[in-house]
Amino acid sequence: MKQFILRRVAQLVLVVFAVTFLTFASLNLVGDPLFNIVGVLSGIPDEQCEAVERGEISDTQSSGLNMGDCALIAQAKEQNNLDKNVVERYGIWLSDMVSGDFGTSFVNGDEISDIVRERLPVTIRLIVLAQIVALGIAIPWGVASAYRANRGFDKVSTVGSFGLLSIPNFALGVILLYFFALRWQIFPSRYENAGWWSELKALTLPALTLGLGLAATYQRLLRTDLITTLQEDFVHMARAKGMSDRHIMYRHALRPSMFSVITVFGVNTGALIGGALVVEQIFSIPGIGTELVEAVLRNDPPVVISLISVVAIGFVLINFFVDLMYGYLDPRVRTS
């Protein structure tokens, strides 16, 4: 077990390296980071600035250069290590990141660590709530349809779950918003946070938007696995022991049937972060998704890189947790 965890942690570190480097490199190679800092001045060819330095160009009128421009460019390059190559810059960025210095935004100079500290908890709460909604619906639903597979309820719920699966997040979000926030005014339409209760209410619709589709996915998987488990001898044994159907379903059959759900739970957390991006927009939630979209739109690579790294680390951590869950679900995994 100890070895297993160590091996997984090593893999985890490797994945985080790969993800952050690729994000860092792609955002540095595509487009010009200098442009984002100094604007059109980045278009001044290097030779011209070198010429200015050598004193060959002094006539600012004819060259269209401002004497301070070159100094500005040099300062920007120096501050952001732009004269070094990508690998070196990645190294510097990484060591800063590890020591907790996420850098600052190119555009407004905000501390990125502040942005993360402020935005991340909201998104985490949203995703956790969405997963709770999804599992809370999917488990009883899956159990109920596997209990009498291919009978009335199961057939109806198959139609229902495929329906939910085929509605895109943004459409579902708008529908929920229209009915629950505008027409019946049960839930607020915008994010508000005056205490945990008001935040919970504000996050209910977004969590439903994210969770309902997911619940349908989980329900399909759980139903299939449960039907298989119910054929097992130990289920017959439990029945021969005189246990009620409900007891057998929840105490005997459910746990060994959770493998697919748990796997997809981990994988889907990534998709959920992507989904949160859209849903945060619809419900105006100041989460990491909203910030990421804004950062991309305002061309702010340091913020984008940091946020993506945070998301990637979260994703890897959740899947690490899922691997540990297998051991909990089936003791046979622990020893092998």
């Binding site: 097992e232 001898d233 130990f234 017959h236 044994m237 439990a238 029945r239 021969a240 022991k241 005189g242 246990m243 009620s244 007891h247 105490r251 005997h252 746990r255 060994p256 679900l329 089936d330 003791p331 046979r332 020893t335």
Partner: protein, 357 residues
Amino acid sequence: MAETHVANTQLSVRDLTVRFPTTRGTVQAVNGVTFDLAKGASLGIVGESGSGKSVTAKTLMNLLPRTAEVSGDVIFEGEDVRQLAEQGREHFWGVKMTMVFQDPMTSLNPVKKCGEQIAETLRYHLKRDKKSALAEAEDLLEQVGIPEPGKRVDQYPHELSGGLRQRVVIAMALACEPSLLIADEPTTAVDVTVQKHLLDLLDTLRRDRGMSMILITHDLGVARGRCDEIAVMYAGRLVERAAPDTLFGDSRHPYTDALLRSIPRIDQPSHTRLEPIPGRPPELINPPEQCAYAPRCRFARPDCLESIPQISGVAGMHEFACFHPANTDRGREALADNLAQGRTAAGLDVTDLGGPS
């Protein structure tokens, strides 16, 4: 029939019939099975796969799929078992009547500790608290001869050998002190060396607790010596019923006779050829109105193909369902006629006497 030993009859099965509708037709899994079981007695039900022995057991345990069509009476200690099933009676199965399954590798829940699985029964039916249930589970493990029970309660099934697991299953079945234990091929899936230990254990436990037992097996040898009575099933019907000594020494039904001949015997010279039973077990979908064993029977005469022989004889002594029973004059005549013709009425070639009958 039933009146003869009403006083201490614990289980009484009358004309039990089980059918399964399938897309290919109705499977007649059990056909008119009738037997009684006295308190504290043990009955062996012997037959090959598909003979209906497991379906009979599952009917008693209320484990049949919902599609099964059941008729006939099952009375256990004065209660109508099929009615209890319909009423959804709790704390009956698992408490008064329990069952041990064939494969100990799969009949324990892989994700629960052995102790928990035994304690679960006690907590569920007898409402024990967790601590005393676990202590009792440990006690039960000791009773079924598991070494270091204190350690085993905290182990998962995969950490135990097949023999030990079957002992855990037995402990689980015994937890609520049932008055009837149904053991469905309890030793088929374990090593031969372990088989005897398990069978002896079941026998001892039964005697100590005054519990009745139905031992289901395909092996006549397993039933002998551990059962007060053996019932042989073929194609969903009881074909012969007698005490083990009678059955082994003076069998009547040609199927029983053939089964006995197919077992190696220690009193025969070595390299004596065993006699396999020709043909295959019959289809249970739309069987013809004739003796189901006739196509494989060396004794089959034309009357065997015209109607189904009903089981008859002295209840509790020796009953059988055959028109030309083996080891009788009628049987010898039938065999002699078939030999003279070279084939039976069902078309099976008969060329030699096939042993000393």
